[in-house]
Amino acid sequence: MISLEKRPTPSRAWTYATPFLAVALTVIAGGLMFAALGKDPVAAIRTIFYDALFDPQFAAYSRPQLLVKAGPLILIATGLALGFRAGVWNIGAEGQYIIGALTGAAVGLALYPADTRMIFPLMVIVGALGGWAWAMIPAILKTRFNTNEILVSLLLVYVAENLLASMAVGRLRNPEGGGFPGSRNLSQWDSAANPELIADTGMHWGVVAAFIAVIFAYILLNRHLTGFHIRLAGQAPRAARFAGVEPTRLVVLCLGISGALAGLAGIFEVTGPAGQISIDFNVGYGFTAIIVAFLGRLHPIGIALAGLLMALTYIGGELASFMLGIPAAAIQAFQGMLLFFLLAVDVLTNYRVRLGRREASA
């Protein structure tokens, strides 16, 4: 008989060990999945985790992609983690990401073809504001009407996707694009472009912003009273209320920050790697960031590492699909599995496993 005994405080050792254990278990389960698909599991895993970075033929292309993909994931996940810590569940980051990209791009395109580098920072600011405003909808509904923020923020993703479709074929469509959907190419317009800052590294302004966000989040959580309140509200809501923490303020703050960061990720993406507003420029970073946040233990530095790992599964997955014909959907399932294993092994952090019969006095 196996029984669980609650630890007085979460185990520090397991807090650090569980993400690695979860990754190891996911690799095993993923290998089984690839085997079930009729692919060589060892080759598949090696392609995803090793060849993507070290294969002489592909590494030159893949390595810069690591930062390109990790940037938005880290940026969004850092914001989400603040909310998740406080028990504020923003799961609509994908929508805030889209709206940030739309508003930022709209401002830039309104000034086309002005030739000043000031346009790019303006777009970035407006993009952040757009994401913030979109996140304020669930925040205000939550604080004013006590409406569940999980459902509202998620449903708004579908609204944002429809808005994006409408804008890509309507208002923001490239007038010189021969009627094809999609906006002007922002990455090729010097005033708005978000270029690679150091050649062949993938480093662009979005990646810089991500690392700044990580540092700020770290300071906020560990050195600032607001960060303490966020942690307190998540761990002991009652104690937080007695300590004078205003839940309303935290909801607005957490949703606002995560929305603004998701909006930033969106505008950096459409001015850089994606290049333009198109119907499907969003590839689900807003959802994958949820996995990144948990994999990083809701800790800013952990998130930076988790973002890099998750980016690796994206580029490794692309390589595996190209080399071995593993469907892209398998990688999505793989990422989902990672979250399952993480949640499962987390029990070791909070509970002690006891073998044998429970004692009567327990």
Partner: protein
């Protein structure tokens, strides 16, 4: 624009079809939440059911077998959630999200070879002279068996929750798992059973989308239906009868906006397409403004972890 092209008969008839997937999923989630478990993985279970049902129906040529497979697929997937939340004591919100993310990936993986195929059709039931009645015949008695199954299940679930001993036990577990445990009820077993039932219902709902309503398989075809089902449970204040009302209202909105699209209303298609989501949000706001979740009838231990010490 020609609004007269919208036939009220067809509108009401297609409303029932549009509402059925959400009704099935929402009824399942109702039972799950009544047992005190919040499973946010409805979307993932629905889409997994959609592809399981579709694939099996295509392979066997029999849609009924497809629906069974969908229920089984949804229930199996829900067991991942069940084991994680009940035995590994994981956070229900996070695990539900994981289930949705995983289900979306898994379904498009399973659906690789099924894009662009037509499934075997699910015929309308022939109810003899009833189906020949004017208006009522077409609207009420002109559907396939799943529509009636969903209505029967609605009554059955109401009866189960309100009038049977087993239903009382399930509600007791949802209201206070500690008290229920002290009374000797098997909290985990009851919750696992509820989660499996919810998964099967979501699977059925998904299969109805891919086998009847669309009928086709496309990636991500549930398009938020699972989340709307979750919202409808809140709208319904955790009551089976009101789940029916909510699902049919939602079906009505969906069908109306599709008809308006077809009639060529001046509004762009995308704005009509987003209307069901906006209306769902509006309904949630109205409901939550009326009181706290508790006063609306949410089970007291909804979403809380159960760890028996004794």
């Amino acid at each position: 624009m020609d609004l007269s092209a919208i036939s009220p008969t067809l509108l009401v008839a297609s409303l029932m079809v549009a509402a059925t997937p959400i009704l099935l999923a929402a009824l399942g989630e109702l039972v799950v939440e009544k047992s005190g478990v919040l499973n946010l993985g409805v979307e993932g279970m629905m889409i997994t059911g959609a592809i399981c049902g579709f694939a099996v129906a295509v392979e066997t040529g029999n849609p009924v077998v497809g629906f069974f497979a969908a229920a089984l697929g949804g229930a199996l997937l829900s067991m991942i959630f069940g084991v994680l939340t009940q035995f590994f004591l994981s956070n229900q919100v996070a695990t539900g999200l994981a289930l949705t993310l995983f289900g979306l990936g898994l379904s498009s993986l399973l659906g690789q070879g099924y894009v662009g195929i037509k499934p075997p059709s699910t015929p309308r039931l022939n109810l003899g002279p009833l189906s020949d009645l004017p208006f009522v015949g077409r609207v009420v008695f002109g559907h396939d068996w799943v529509v009636y199954l969903s209505l029967i299940l609605c009554v059955a679930i109401w009866y189960f929750l309100r009038r049977t001993r087993a239903g009382l036990k399930l509600r007791a577990v949802g209201e206070s798992h500690d008290a229920a445990h002290a009374m000797g009820l098997k909290v985990r077993a009851i919750r696992l059973a509820a989660i499996a039932f919810g998964g099967a219902m979501a699977g059925l709902g998904g299969a109805y989308l891919s086998l009847v309503r669309v009928p086709q398989w496309t990636e991500g075809m549930t398009a938020g239906a699972g989340w709307i089902a979750l919202a409808i449970v809140v709208f319904a204040s955790w009551r089976a009868g009101r789940v029916l009302v909510g699902a049919y209202l939602f079906g009505g909105v969906t069908v109306l906006q599709l008809n308006l699209q077809a009639a060529g209303v001046a509004l762009p298609v995308e704005y009509l397409s987003m209307s069901p989501y906006l209306i769902t949000i509006a309904v949630l706001v109205v409901m939550s403004a009326r009181g706290t979740r508790r006063s609306l009838g949410a089970p007291a231990d909804l979403g809380k972890q159960f760890h028996a010490v004794h």
